[in-house]
Subunit: 231 residues, 2 copies
Amino acid sequence: MKEITNPAAVEQAIIEGGLSALFPEALRSKLVLCRFDVRENICNQGETPTQLYILIKGKMKCYTTSEQGNTLILSFLTPPEVIGDIEFIQGIPIMNTVEAVTPLEMIRVSYQAMHQFGMNHPPLLQFLLKIIGEKFQRKSSSLSFNLLHTAEARLAWYLLSNGFDEVDGEEAGMQVSSLKDTANLIGTSYRHVNRVLRRFIEDGLVKREKGMLTILDKERLRFIANEDSAD
Amino acid sequence: MKEITNPAAVEQAIIEGGLSALFPEALRSKLVLCRFDVRENICNQGETPTQLYILIKGKMKCYTTSEQGNTLILSFLTPPEVIGDIEFIQGIPIMNTVEAVTPLEMIRVSYQAMHQFGMNHPPLLQFLLKIIGEKFQRKSSSLSFNLLHTAEARLAWYLLSNGFDEVDGEEAGMQVSSLKDTANLIGTSYRHVNRVLRRFIEDGLVKREKGMLTILDKERLRFIANEDSAD
DNA sequence: AGGATTTGAGGACATATGTCCTTTCTTCCG
DNA sequence: CGGAAGAAAGGACATATGTCCTCAAATCCT
């Protein structure tokens, strides 16, 4: 991780991230611009947090590990996003590990500075409310979706929501390379993802070529993602 | 639902709920004390919300219904708790239906009043942050727990966490009457709850008498709740 | 290139869980 | 009290999913 304290650079990043109104004057000087390389961890589950990070550029993935060592990818995150906000509010250890998927650019503020200069600044509080509210919403729909749908439906949903905007050039292609991540993301085993995927292929819903998945029947996939359920 | 606008009564309730610092002067006159009867709904999934409710006394249950009609109980809620906060922040329809389990006492504020007089009042914003943060935490652990553990572990967990403090008098007793609720709460079918419960009984973990469950082996239950996992 | 090593896919089997239906047990009414 | 109606529990079967292993494909090292 590289820290950049140069005020001009920080200011530039803040403007870029559309965060200009958030910080009261007293906080400005406390901000640090941080750059993370791919695969670098921003924070690790279980640690005691001291800094708040606001994502300005890049993409990261957030996952949790159970005592038994099972990994569960919670989500991929893109700006605007904040890391360490819940922990800051609740005064608890880091809940998830967050890792850079692409190079990142983030604004960092210490909890100390936040407490001292941030907690009486409505725009900042409102921003945090908005962010945490979004996190809650995502978590909430994720919970009901996972509890109410089979792995098949979850995979269909995943293919639909992630298969497209992942690849820059091609419309309907996606790397298979991440099947293990996919399994963790939808909360099932790698084996099962393969099994279901095979069924999709046999049914002509998707195509698998040279480690690349292509969606053939968006409609039917959508149907599976919605209709399938468990009671 | 009964509305009480009498300022003294409202003030009394606010003090009782420990919410004195939350409301700026301008908001005080907008507050209404509401009493709900058992089984009354505070809000219904899908509706457009206009009011924020703060629970002061009583217990309610919060559940969601999927398009396919499956019900999933998300949690039982006790003070301090807020209803409609996420919806207020995000400007979205009501996410869950909330129903009174016991008679309730709540403070009501309109979204309009909140926008006008509440959003620049740091104590209120901080309170909301705290509440939403807690909701997120609960939702979060609920998600990983559900995704990472079998129904057996979830039932064991439920018995441990709800079987005790529910009944006022007896230590280890709990009404079976709510087995359907239990099933919805841990995201499985009523049939399966019965099946697993039977296993527990055969193994001498719990006892079932006249519609009353008694926990016999807290230790082993705890073991099941923690150890069991899925990858 | 050729074997060694790693990674991905699929087979076989066991368990978990859902669904539908039957059996019990309660409750209630005449 | 006896049977009707409703709620709770359990049986049977099908499907979903996890686990362990084997086989195939890609990668690497010399």
